[in-house]
Amino acid sequence: MTYAPAGSKATLRESRRQLATVIDLNKCMACQTCTVACKGLWTRHPGAEHMRFANVTYEPGAGYPRQWSLMGGGYQGREMRSGRLPTLSDYGGGPRTYNHEAVTRRGESQRVHLQLLDEHGETPSWSYNWDEEVGGGQWPNPYYVHLPRKCNHCSRPPCVDACPKGAIYKREADGIVLIDQDRCSGHRFCVEACPYKAIYFNPVAGKSEKCIECFPRVDEGIAPACSRQCVGRTRHYGYLDDTTCGVHKLVKQWHVALPLHPEYGTSPNVYYVPPLSPLAFDADGNLLDQMRIPNEFLISLFGPRVPRALATLQEEMAKQKAGESSELIELLVGRVWADRFGGFTKDPAHRPRDA
């Protein structure tokens, strides 16, 4: 429920049901369609230039904002963990341009390379996805994982706890976490508290903003834009307790979709199917009996249940290969797109106009 002057914080945290997202990292190609779908809808206003409520970065890597996973926040047991706030440059600064003029019009293309320019016309030293495709691992086994992120609409949201104005709340009907813009004073305790750095400060408005889970769409039965627009068919959407929906099946029945950094203690509601990878090589080019993406690395992201989830995926793939049908693999392939959205399948283009 929303803010009540004499109400307790507990009422702000309560929700009867919970919407959730599953993202299959075996299929994400880092095309950034989700990033752009969100940006175009929600963060085109002044002061929001640096914001990408939906974003996709490379792991291992600095991520977005730069080194977010080292900034603190979340819980250590029952205690809230202090942290630090990102700077504008941690987000990659303001809007970037290219030196198109020099390369294409002034005839300097033989001497000048196409390059990114910052707001001062200089070559920046950091920007969104500056470390794209760098990844980790040593030859002959380099690796990286595409990691699409957004607000996790946590079941135990530290952002709600941290806000001294009681401006952040979970919607009672579906658990969507929102910031009441009328109550927000821009104190940024929420930015510090969110271990995923899914809250962004707008210096023009002097207030904090975050992913709103496309609630005006959700309220009309349309999946959020990042999920609906995903060309990789990586995403499932719906109520976590809806036993007919893919989200429920992948998280609760098959246990192949896992939360990011469960150790932060926030019970996040974006779940990831961890990626399988080809077998690793030894120095002589012989195949080893282990996957190229190290288990320890995936466990550092998605917790101790990774090996079990990967084993389930392999078992079910083997079944499918052997000619048997696997419900899990069919679900992940997602032949009929509407099956992936737990009933949130209305077409945004045909939405009835508001009166």
Partner: protein
Amino acid sequence: MKARRVRASEEDLLSPDSSFWSGGKTEFVALSPVPLAMTQEVSPLMAKRTDHGAVSSVEVAAVHNGSHLALRLEWETSTSNAIDDLDRFADAAAVMFPMHPEAAAVTMGSEGRPVNAWYWRAGSAGRATCFDVVAEGLGTSVRRDARQTSLTTRSAYVQGRWHITLVRALETGGDAMRFEAGATTGIAFSVWDGANAERAAHKSASMSFSELELEA
């Protein structure tokens, strides 16, 4: 503390250099770090802080001209701070008045016992902002557009010292705080050091209301 009655225009009241300021007595009000343990319910994260209260005193003077009340606040701080990056906080100050005889300053009032505050905050390139604030307890403050209550401010940072004036009509109608020449009201003070990331209850404050008498 006494707000002397002076013959001055509203514009004169706003100027920290007006001659009447030098004629009157100023008071040094001691400020101390707000005991944040009491904010455990409104923000367990803020409640953990122990590094606040950078500014330990504010020099205050008050006058009125029969229609407007003016307060001048000055304090020392080694840098001036505005929100010039996403991790930066601004220097700020506020004066607070009880709108109910039993309102407590340290909790910013309580349900049914509201307080009113005039809040000033430094801005980039000298563009400061001010709000009129009403609260009924910790975490309940509501900022209102200062124009609604005719609150105006002027500020300057000179040689390690903030000089700010806050001016408001004694009567503004509606449910806003009323002042009356000849009457006495309570007054309390808060200062936030931006360099120390102070904001919300993470600040220095005078903790209890002292008396402010408006000369008849």
